[in-house]
Amino acid sequence: MSRIQESVIIRTVVRIMVPFIQLFALYVIMHGASGPGGGFQGGVIFGAAIILYAMIFGISEGKKKMSDALDKILASTGLTIYAGTGLACILFGGMFLQYDAVPLLPDPAVVSKYLIDLVEIGIGITVLAVMISLFFDVSPPEPEPEEAEE
């Protein structure tokens, strides 16, 4: 453990900050359709929150929150949501990703809005999973399990 990781201030701040960063990420994702932001940016912010956590509390601690298996599943799920939305549009007789073809609500514009959000969420999930797995892949193996504390 490096000195930074031992610092009480940093550990506490990170512990408090992570949920807010994640909340902000969700805001960026949901805001993507109507303002600056979107699935990619939100996903990166969300991934960054978990990466920050793993940097301070250790890779193995980070992997407890985000296991490799969960990572894989999320990466696949996100894209499946995206492609599934596109294919749903085809099923309802539109073109690929032609949102207003899906007769969910009476107003096609509103359907478009919600389906764009859904697609953004899908993108966000994939991006966050891939970000985190990239981080874990390039991170050095954990030194040795913690030595007895003095």
Binding site: A69, K72, I73, A75, S76, L79, T80, A83, G86, L87, I90, G94, M95, F96, L97, Q98, Y99, D100, A101, T126
Partner: protein
């Protein structure tokens, strides 16, 4: 109304979406059972093959297919356009990918142990990228798919020989990124001048600004970028290492497809974004033919100096890409027909040769051609496929290589460029030199214990695709008349703007 009628109009987009979804689901499939991804990839590739075949039939029967993504009208939305040219390239991609996916089972297990699931995942994403590059009618969308295919290719190459594979992949990454930057700059320039990203729209708008230096710069950037991507001779440095050190399956896939799609993109930009008249006017085709002629000779000369079979095949690829580009540089119907024909033929031949090299490596761990002695007795089927594909490379009559070289030579004569006929002949002789060393070792080389060599053939999953490709090399050598008459010649006429298919 059957289910097929419902899905039929959406087949263009499914060509890209199916490998994409399949690629991202592979990790889950592999997580359930490590043996499943092979079946999964084969299934996905088979479906894509059927779709690509159906697309081409639709194009032949009822003309170009336009697919508006998200229902947005072009030029504002992204449009997928399938005409005869990319319908045919898509079918080749799908076919080669299906063959390689059948082949991959044992080879991947041996060469990338423990990483089969990521390998197949990336494999499918590579196909997504290549399909997307081919099928899209929007140049920025094209760039996105170009990046997908490049990134996945880097990953596949890096999974190869420990150490060397990573270095080769890194070299390719640098060169590929430079190429992609050139292409992106070109796209940016064209967008700045015309304000559109749709290829068809751009072709209509560009003639108004042909006297602008920006357009000229854009053309230069595209040609430089694509020349790196296809490994045209002076810019080929990344190619031999990348092909040599990638896993055999990836070598076959990348050698068979990546450069072909690069060539397709070059043609698409030369003839369908710019106009042939403009490209000829600024002497780009002239430069291309001479560069191609240089590539043909130098690729063959370098190939003679190699002792690693995969490296030799890689240099031979450089020379074969020269043939294709020579045909297009000649800008007459016969030459372009030859070039198009050679895209198909080279995909078959080179894929078969790399598959054979992989099968030999799988069985014997040998890649040095001087150690191939006695292989003819040990692996008769594999080496026979090698013989057929190599003869086809040389251009022996009765194989596909002969047909395309014949057309290229005729095209050179028609363009009054006799020197290229000489280039083709000299290169064929050089091909004989470097393939003969292998024939000599395989069939006539006598190791000390020749009597003890037992028949030890590659597994069936490897043999089937190799044999199919070998048979196709001969089949199209005899029966490519229909294809040329109904697809390649009309296509060449269309590309030159001489009418033909709409």
């Amino acid at each position: 109304m059957t289910g097929f009628d419902l899905i039929a109009p959406h087949l263009p987009v499914l060509t890209v979406v199916i490998p994409l979804i399949a690629g991202f689901l592979t990790p889950i499939i592999g997580w359930i059972d490590r043996r499943l991804p092979w079946y999964w990839v084969m299934l996905a590739m088979f479906v894509v093959l059927l779709i690509a075949g159906n697309n081409l039939v639709t194009v032949i029967n009822s003309g170009t297919i336009h697919y508006k993504l998200g229902g947005w009208d072009p030029p504002f939305g992204i449009e997928y356009v399938i005409d005869l040219l990319n319908g045919f390239v898509c079918l080749i991609i799908a076919f080669i990918a299906f063959m390689v996916s059948i082949y991959s089972k044992e080879s991947v297990k041996k060469e990338v142990p423990g990483k089969t699931t990521p390998f197949y995942s990336v494999f499918l994403l590579l196909i997504t990228g290549l399909m997307g590059m081919t099928i899209t009618g929007d140049i920025f969308n094209f760039y996105v798919f170009l990046e997908i295919s490049s990134l996945t290719a880097y990953a596949l190459i890096a999974m190869g020989d420990r150490g060397d594979g990573v270095v080769a992949s890194f070299n390719y990454l640098i060169m590929g990124t430079v190429a992609a930057s050139f292409i992106l700059l070109g796209i940016g320039y064209l967008y700045a001048v015309t304000g559109t990203l749709n290829m068809a729209d751009m072709q209509n708008l560009l003639p108004g600004v042909y006297d602008s230096k920006v357009v000229l710069a854009a053309l230069a950037f595209f040609m430089a970028g694509f020349s790196i991507k296809v490994g045209l001779f002076p810019l080929h440095a990344w190619l031999p290492d990348a092909y040599t050190h990638a896993p055999s399956t990836a070598s076959a896939l990348i050698a068979g497809l990546m450069t072909k799609v690069g060539v397709y993109a070059m043609i698409r930009f030369m003839f369908c974004v710019f106009t042939p008249a403009f490209v000829i006017d600024v002497n780009m085709t002239e430069i291309l033919t001479w560069a191609a002629a240089l590539a043909i000779i130098m690729g063959s000369v370098f190939a003679i100096a190699q002792s690693d079979i995969k490296r030799m095949l890689a240099y031979s690829s450089i020379s074969q890409i020269g043939y294709i580009l020579l045909g297009f540089g000649l800008v007459n119907v016969v030459g372009i027909t030859g070039g198009l024909l050679h895209i198909m033929n080279h995909a078959f031949m080179k894929c078969a040769l790399f598959l054979v090299a992989g099968a030999i490596f799988y069985k014997t761990d040998i890649r040095n051609i001087y150690q191939f002695k006695g292989l003819g007795k040990k692996m008769p089927v594999t080496t026979t496929v090698f013989l057929i594909a190599a003869l086809s490379m040389i251009g022996v009559p009765g194989t596909v290589g002969f047909t395309s070289k014949w057309y290229l030579a005729l095209g050179s004569i028609e363009a009054n460029q006799w020197i290229f006929v000489a280039v083709i002949l000299v290169s064929s002789l050089l091909n004989i030199v470097y393939f003969w060393r292998i024939f000599d070792n395989i069939w006539f080389g006598h190791p000390h214990e020749i009597e003890n060599i037992k028949r030890d053939e590659a597994p069936l999953t490897m043999l089937i695709p190799m044999v199919i490709l070998g048979i196709l090399c001969v089949y199209f050598g005899f029966f490519s008349g229909d294809l040329i008459e109904h697809i390649f010649e009309p296509l060449a006429k269309t590309l030159l703007g001489l009418g033909g298919v709409p």
